[in-house]
């Protein structure tokens, strides 16, 4: 049946059939008595329907007709498409990001059965030591394991130093576990994982191969030098593979066995069980016949046997930490971004949905106005025999065509917007690399959103069109776009809703923006672009307990500071253990008189001029001097902050000896289980007190902090962060600083030189992103509302020209008329606000629950923000109403009445 019908899809076949049918009917009509055959046109029409493509034909006709109608009013079409495209594009962009972060499967074999291990203690951690990895392999053969570690690599090719590479050390099982095929050469396998330091081979990531080597296949066999050790390139990884960690993109893979060579700053982590460094992440697949529950049970059993216990030993209790092991699905990869951004992204998707809703209302309004203007056309078509459903369908099709075009534009917009967003999110910090190519899910979502939008704004005017009065077609008033009774119509209602929704958006955006402003430190000029930061991590800094090491580093650092301060344009330079916004794990034990045990206080190791460089005010006493720096002696010389004084000194003068605060000494307590406890030690020599700064955690009050010198601190690491305050432009200074730092140890990977402002921005990247996006959305919503309101007012004035003319003729003043239009505008906005303020309060409460950490020092329905938003909307109403009001007031009564 179908195959006989198919030819009728072809226009020429249909034309031939049509001719044939007409000829047959003519012949029959000639032979039958007149009138015998009835309505032949109808018979032909019904026969044509038997060809079975009437629907399709009508749809094509509707489409053609819609296209023609839209082309005829390009301004309307452009306005509708642009506002819809922004709404659809915003939704599509956010959905793309959510999809990439949350749902996209890793491009590896059978991602559903790939797992990663995590420890679950106070917080979830994915890091393990090499010894733990070996222990799992040996004692828990329930999985096939692989381990990997992100490393920064100092690379040189043909003797020339490359920019620092983002690399990955992987075990021999890594690529086989993922089931990847090389794009070129071979990948790393178990044979590259046998002897420490015995496998100087590397695999390039596809992207790096393309960019650095132009996709040259001769790269296999070439040598790349990593931290001074030559490696042979043996292959290239597949193009779509960016590692298990979503958001990062390793450029090079090397065997874990080469760790001592490529990580010269740390100790050999492969055979130092005494160093607890969780540098590896462990992935695995269940062995055949093993269930997930069985594997979990095996891990649990491991921790109960001392020989197989993999848990770290707490250095104070000397007992294994109470942590569990979790098997977590890695089908979508592992991502810190996911944890950080998924909730804000969903909230922003909701916001984008509201913007789209506003855009839909606008387009519906435009379509309504058009359909009113086209009443006559519809009436004529009805009179000529078009069915009401056909008219309705045509208006709906027009809407869908608009939505389709806007959807296509939206996809393009989203393509650009996602990249811009990711670039903004990774500015100032490590690059974020995400595979943002739109997949089926994104396209389906965008399609569905466009379709829904089309139906949403198309249905109102379609319903309107179906109620067109046939007899009214001839009536003169329709020719002049006069609205029937109830002249406010659905248009005003739509604008009321728009006002309400945009108030919600405005309040949200205002709360986010003000939270962000509260979070940016202003007390010190700490967010300055004039403070440069770079990490210094020379070889051997991973283990400063070697005799003489600390002194060697101290000499090196003081020399570095001298050299840096000699650069023209540098005001001061100093070193600190961590960068200002990095939470420091290092702590200082203190003992207080009359208090049992001790307290661990956050500590920061600093060189002189730290406080002046950072812009932290010295409240009392003095800064460290060169003299203090040289004393590793018994009396701890420290500075403290005001929080420390408040918490521990209880009114005693911190600068006078006898304040009672002591450094705590660990003592071995008696008993079967060896335990350390703190006992009193030497009194602290506090030489100065500084103002509480906003660092390291911007949203928390400064904790009591001790500032210590390098030689007095008892820590295993010797790496530091160089802080440089410059007088003006930082570009040239940054280059010189870079050179000096690289010269300290040319073999180690260089870290980025960035400014303190960059760090603040990076720490607030979520807040900035949410504030910026919600601000943009609110702005778009305002423009749309303004346009919508203007449209409704202008249209209503145009429809009431005669009435206004009559009023003017009967003695109304122009200001009466202006007031009439203003009242209409005010009525809409005030009704909108009345609906919007409660909605904003409710949504604010919901928002605060969802994004508690994004709202800072503000209550959900912050009255100031709400009032401000309402004011903004009122002024928007004034702006939108101005032109129609003036036009109404300038109506010439004579002309207006002559229209009849």
């Amino acid at each position: 049946m179908l195959w006989r019908r198919l030819p009728y899809l072809l226009p020429w076949h249909r034309r031939a059939a049509e001719r044939d049918m007409q000829e047959e009917l003519r012949a029959l009509a000639e032979m039958a008595p007149p009138g015998e055959l009835g309505n032949l046109t109808l018979a032909a029409e019904d026969a044509r329907a038997e060809w079975g493509w009437t629907r399709l034909e009508q749809a094509a006709q509707d489409l053609r007709y819609a296209g023609r109608a839209l082309r005829k009013s390009p301004a309307f079409t452009a306005a509708a498409i642009v506002s819809l495209a922004i709404g659809i594009g915003a939704n599509s962009a956010l959905f793309t990001l959510i999809n990439t972060l949350l749902w996209k499967r890793l491009p590896v074999r059978d991602p559903e059965h790939l797992f990663v291990l995590a420890t679950e203690g106070a917080r979830k951690d994915y890091g393990f030591t090499y010894q733990q990895y070996e222990r799992f392999q040996q004692h828990a053969p329930v999985l096939d394991y692989a381990a990997y570690s992100r490393v920064r690599l100092n690379a040189s090719i043909d003797g020339a130093l490359e920019p620092t590479l983002d690399g990955q050390l992987v075990t021999g099982g890594y690529f086989p576990l993922l089931g990847l095929r090389p794009a070129l050469g071979r990948l790393l396998g178990p044979d590259d994982d046998r002897v420490p330091m015995g496998h100087p081979v590397a695999v390039l990531a596809h992207d790096y191969w393309m960019r650095r080597f132009g996709g040259d296949p001769a790269v296999v066999g070439r040598t790349i030098s990593l931290s001074g050790t030559p490696f042979t390139i043996v292959g290239v990884a597949p193009a779509e593979f960016f590692g298990i960690d979503v958001g990062s993109a390793p450029q090079l893979f090397a065997p874990v066995m080469m760790q001592p060579a490529v990580m010269p700053t740390t100790v050999n982590l492969l055979d130092r069980p005494d160093v607890y460094s969780t540098w590896l992440r462990i992935a695995g697949r269940l062995r055949p016949g093993v269930s997930r529950a069985q594997a979990a049970a095996r891990f649990e059993a491991l921790a109960t046997v001392p020989e197989t216990d993999w848990r770290p030993v707490n250095k104070f209790t000397l007992r294994p930490d109470d942590v569990g092991l979790a098997l977590e699905s890695a089908a979508t990869g592992l991502s810190d971004l996911r944890r950080q951004f998924s909730r804000p992204l969903f909230v922003l998707l909701g916001v984008a949905g509201l913007v789209l809703l506003i855009a839909c209302a606008n387009v519906a309004n435009l379509l309504l106005a058009r359909s009113t203007a086209r009443r006559q056309e519809f009436a004529v078509r009805l009179a000529l025999g078009a069915s009401r459903s056909r008219l309705m369908r045509q208006v709906l099709v027009e809407g869908l065509v608009l939505a389709g075009l806007a959807g296509a534009a939206g996809v393009a917009l989203a393509f650009w917007a996602t990249r811009a967003l990711v670039a903004a999110a990774s500015s100032g910090g490590g690059a974020v690399v995400l595979d943002l190519s739109p997949d089926v899910r994104v396209l389906a979502f965008t399609g569905a959103v466009s379709l829904l939008a089309g139906l949403a704004f198309g249905s109102v005017p379609a319903f309107r069109a179906s109620r067109t009065d046939v007899s009214g077609g001839a009536r003169a008033d329709l020719a002049h776009n006069r609205l029937p009774a109830g002249r406010r119509g659905p248009g005003s209602l739509l604008v009321v809703c728009q006002v309400a929704v945009s108030l919600v958006l405005l309040v949200g955006a205002g709360v986010f923006a003000r939270s962000l402003r509260n979070l940016i430190p202003t007390d010190t000029d700490a967010s300055s672009t004039r403070v440069l930061i770079v990490r210094v991590e020379p070889r051997g800094s991973g283990d400063r307990h070697q005799p003489g090491t600390a002194e060697r580093f101290d000499r090196m650092y003081r020399q570095l500071l001298q050299d840096v301060e000699r650069i023209p344009g540098v005001e001061s330079a100093t070193l600190a253990r961590t960068s200002p916004l990095a939470p420091d794990s290092f702590s200082f034990p203190i003992a207080l008189p009359g208090v049992e045990g001790g307290r661990l206080v956050p500590a920061l190791i600093v060189y002189p001029r730290y406080f002046s460089t950072m812009g932290i005010r010295l409240v009392r006493g003095r800064d460290f001097t060169a003299e203090d720096m040289r004393q590793p002696g018994a009396v701890p010389t420290v500075l403290v902050n005001e929080a420390f004084v408040r918490e521990f000194l209880r009114g005693r003068d911190p600068l006078v000896p006898g304040h009672g605060v002591m450094q705590a000494r660990a003592e071995r307590a008696d008993g079967k289980i060896p335990r350390f406890r703190f006992g009193p030690g030497p009194a602290l020599n506090i030489v100065g007190v500084v103002h509480d700064s906003r660092f390291p955690a911007l949203r928390e009050a400064a904790p009591p902090t001790v500032f210590q010198t390098f030689l007095q601190a008892n820590t295993g690491f010797a790496h530091m962060v160089l802080l440089v305050r410059t007088a003006g432009a930082t570009g040239e200074v940054a280059r010189r600083v870079r050179e000096l730092v690289q010269a300290v140890d040319p073999i180690v990977p260089m870290f980025d030189v960035h400014s303190l402002a960059d760090e603040v921005n990076l720490a607030l990247v979520r807040e900035r992103l949410v504030a910026a996006l919600s601000g943009v959305f609110a702005g778009v919503a305002l423009v749309l509302v303004c346009v919508g309101l203007y449209g409704v007012l202008a249209f209503s004035v145009a429809c009431r020209t005669r009435e206004i003319g009559l009023r003017l003729a009967l003695g109304a003043t122009p200001s009466d008329v202006r007031w009439m239009v203003a009242r209409h505008a005010l009525g809409i906005v005030v009704t909108g606000l009345a609906l919007g303020i409660p909605a904003a309060l409710v949504s604010g409460r919901l928002l605060t629950r969802q994004l508690a950490d994004l709202v800072y020092q503000l209550t959900p329905g912050d009255p100031l923000t709400t009032a401000g938003a309402a004011l903004v909307l009122l002024s928007i109403a004034a702006a939108a109403g101005l032109l129609p009001a003036l036009r109404a007031a300038h109506t010439d009564p004579v002309v207006a009445l002559r229209v009849e």
Binding site: M1, R4, R5, D20, E24, L25, A27, L28, E30, M31, A32, E36, L37, G38, N39, L40, L42, A43, A44, D46, A47, A49, E50, W51, G52
Partner: protein, 111 residues
């Protein structure tokens, strides 16, 4: 109702069993052979012809009539013949079923 739906189709097939006919001829033949009891509107008959042609139960061909006119003539295809056999057996069982229901019951005779 299933049986009634295809009645027109069945009548056309049945009419063509006696030989090929043109569109008007089929309408006239149905009317004549039912003693004018069944007057099929040409407006319904003609689309039905197209439908049967698309189903492949009848075929159409331009021919010259005895009065030297070019007309389109429909004839039964083997498949149409087979269909007709099925339809008529279904029809007679339908008629029997309806007839046994409509037969006047003893109690209500004469009403």
């Amino acid at each position: 109702m299933e049986a009634l739906y295809g009645v027109l189709d069945m009548l056309i097939l049945r009419t063509l069993l006696f030989g090929p006919l043109h569109g008007y001829g089929i309408a006239a033949a149905i009317r004549d052979s039912s003693d004018e009891a069944l007057r099929i509107e040409f407006g319904s008959l003609y689309p039905a012809l197209k439908r049967l042609e698309l189903k492949g139960w009848i075929s159409a061909k331009w021919e010259t009539s005895e009065r030297n006119r070019r007309v389109k003539v429909y004839r039964l295809t083997p498949e149409g013949r087979r269909r007709l056999r099925e339809e008529s057996s279904q029809w007679s069982s339908f008629v029997r079923a309806v007839g046994s229901i409509m037969k006047p019951k003893p109690g209500e005779a004469g009403s």
